[in-house]
Symmetry: C2
Subunit: 348 residues, 2 copies
């Protein structure tokens, strides 16, 4: 790996991410049954094969590596992380009625809700299966601890998802940045950062691992990541980002920008925004969505969110340095440290 250790930061990060991603996807695809009824295992690879970031599996592999564990021992868990993520995306697209995902049509649009719910469940189950395969490799104690972390991660994710759905459904007003961050901890940080970091550490260090510092690192990283994701939904390039631009506005999703603009706008702007949010999704128009987007720009909501993300990325770096303090200066450590600028500089 020494050839990359001296290359530029962004280049190094992306090359390493690519290598982790390839390793994970190969191991993921390898274990998908090639027999079975149509519309099940044959559709499990659909989302994984579209070029996702692969960040979550990479974090699991890098954390294990930084703490002295081998990639071979972590690969089942990394694949499970990626499978849970894809299962979550499939169900999330059904729930949000999304049209695009990773530059392709969403699964339920192509095959119907019935098939998509099933494929999401099958993808989840294949994740659990991979964690069961840990037992002969990691022993019963560590495998069980990973199961416990998995149960908690799933619970947190479902609660985060429920909070967000409830906010939209009940057209909740008066939310603050703290509310947003609490929701994001559950909806994003837990499964995208805390969980991969913690299970990577458990694979390397066994059931006695002190998981608290990985939780802190993952919590800040997830918040910065989610804010950047919401910014990309407004300002991104469709070809890179792969989802509908302004999709969150159509949904009435309580992003940090929407919460900001709800709190700062006044008079007619406030009335127009309240009217827009009180409508059902199907009754919103493209002119209204454009007007809310402009209102956010005018009121500095997007810049506000950028600053918040940058501060959270800074806090992430402090935690990353703590986590990596006594680890050797290898590619794994560098990957974890250089994840920080990526969280907020990424365009996809």
């Amino acid at each position: 790996m020494t050839e990359t250790a001296s290359s530029g930061s962004v280049e190094f990060f992306e090359q390493t991410l690519h290598r982790f991603r390839q390793m994970t996807i190969d191991a993921l695809l390898e274990a998908i049954p090639d027999r079975g009824p149509p519309y099940l295992y044959d559709l499990v690879p659909t989302y994984p094969k579209r070029t996702g970031k692969g960040l979550r599996a990479a974090l699991c592999l890098a954390t294990c590596g930084a703490l002295g564990g081998s990639e071979r021992k972590a690969i089942n868990s990394a694949v499970a992380v990626e499978l849970f993520h894809n299962a979550f995306l499939i169900h999330d697209d059904v729930q949000d009625e999304s049209v695009c995902r990773r530059n392709g049509t969403t699964l339920h649009r192509d095959y119907g809700t019935g098939v998509a719910v099933n494929v999401g469940n099958a993808t989840n189950l294949m994740g659990l299966r991979r964690l069961m395969d840990n037992r002969p490799v990691l022993g019963p104690q560590t495998s069980w601890r990973i199961f416990e972390e998995t149960e908690q991660m799933m619970r947190q994710s479902l609660e985060g998802q429920a909070i967000e759905i409830g906010w939209i459904r009940d057209n909740v007003q008066g939310l603050t940045q703290d509310d947003y961050l609490r929701m994001t901890l559950k909806k994003t940080s837990w499964y995208s950062f805390i969980y991969p970091l913690v299970i990577g550490a458990l694979v390397a260090q066994g059931p006695a691992t002190d998981v608290a510092r990985f939780r802190r690192l993952g919590w800040y990283a997830g918040a910065a990541f989610q804010i950047q994701d919401d910014i990309l939904n407004l300002t991104g390039d469709f070809g890179r980002y792969g989802k509908e631009i302004d999709g969150d506005l159509w949904e009435g999703k309580r992003t940090l920008m929407l919460i900001h603009v709800m709190n700062v706008c006044t008079g007619d702007e406030r009335v127009a925004l309240a009217d827009f949010l009180a409508k059902r999704r199907a009754d919103r128009t493209i002119e209204e969505v454009g007007a809310i987007h402009q209102l956010m720009e005018r009121r500095g909501s997007i810049d506000y969110a950028r600053r918040a993300a940058r501060q959270l990325a800074g806090a992430t770096l402090i935690e990353a340095l703590t986590v990596c303090r006594n680890t050797p200066d290898a590619v794994y450590k560098r990957f974890i440290l250089e994840m920080t600028p990526y969280l907020i500089d990424r365009d996809r």
Copy 2:
């Protein structure tokens, strides 16, 4: 329990089923978090509180009891069985676009698909949690075996569901009774009968249990049960059955009756049936559904299915006697034996 041991068969079965059901529902509701975001744990009890049969949990408790295990040791697993069943129903209703379930509106009709998918996932997760709670009670070996059975059950159920969805989606022709029985083994028998029987046995006898005979018993029972379920969908009383009558016809579901009538009808009848099945659900009319229903009656398809269910119930009884051969003549054994007529005589 001696007061019921001498009462009439049906009365005994229903009283015992009621007692098992009450015990399971109490233990299920007790562990649902009373805090958390709206539209999640608060909706998990919706289906369990509507009066279901409770048959699956009862089979788990009865099998454990018949083999000398205690109800206390089996209760977590019985609750998990019931939770998995309810999670399956919630997702199944989303997938089939059903309107009624257990005499109430389906969850997705009342709260939208987003909430329903989430509540289904939360219900599933609470089932897994209960299985994790087995560890201090049953020890790591037996708990792990139960997890393995759970993974297999979920895989079988998803495959069965995929087969059925695929048949409707691709408007598959030329199916036979054997195809139907293979699909039913996966879709119904595994999670409704094989799984509760096997884990009841594992709780009582530990990881060395010979599960093959419970699989055979569950396989026949599930087939008889599913055929009766499909018959009730055509001939049942809505107030007792709790789902839309003729709902399966609207869906184009490949029941044994539909497979039979597809194979025996000729000429104009055949053309009309093919036209009906080639339509999308939304384009089918109530007159057409009524005509297919009458065609099934005229061609003896419902009587044919009744006979098939009765034969499968007979085979179930033979397996039940084998399973119970060396068990004491207690209430548990009697319950398992008297399940057999219930499979095909039930009206809900």
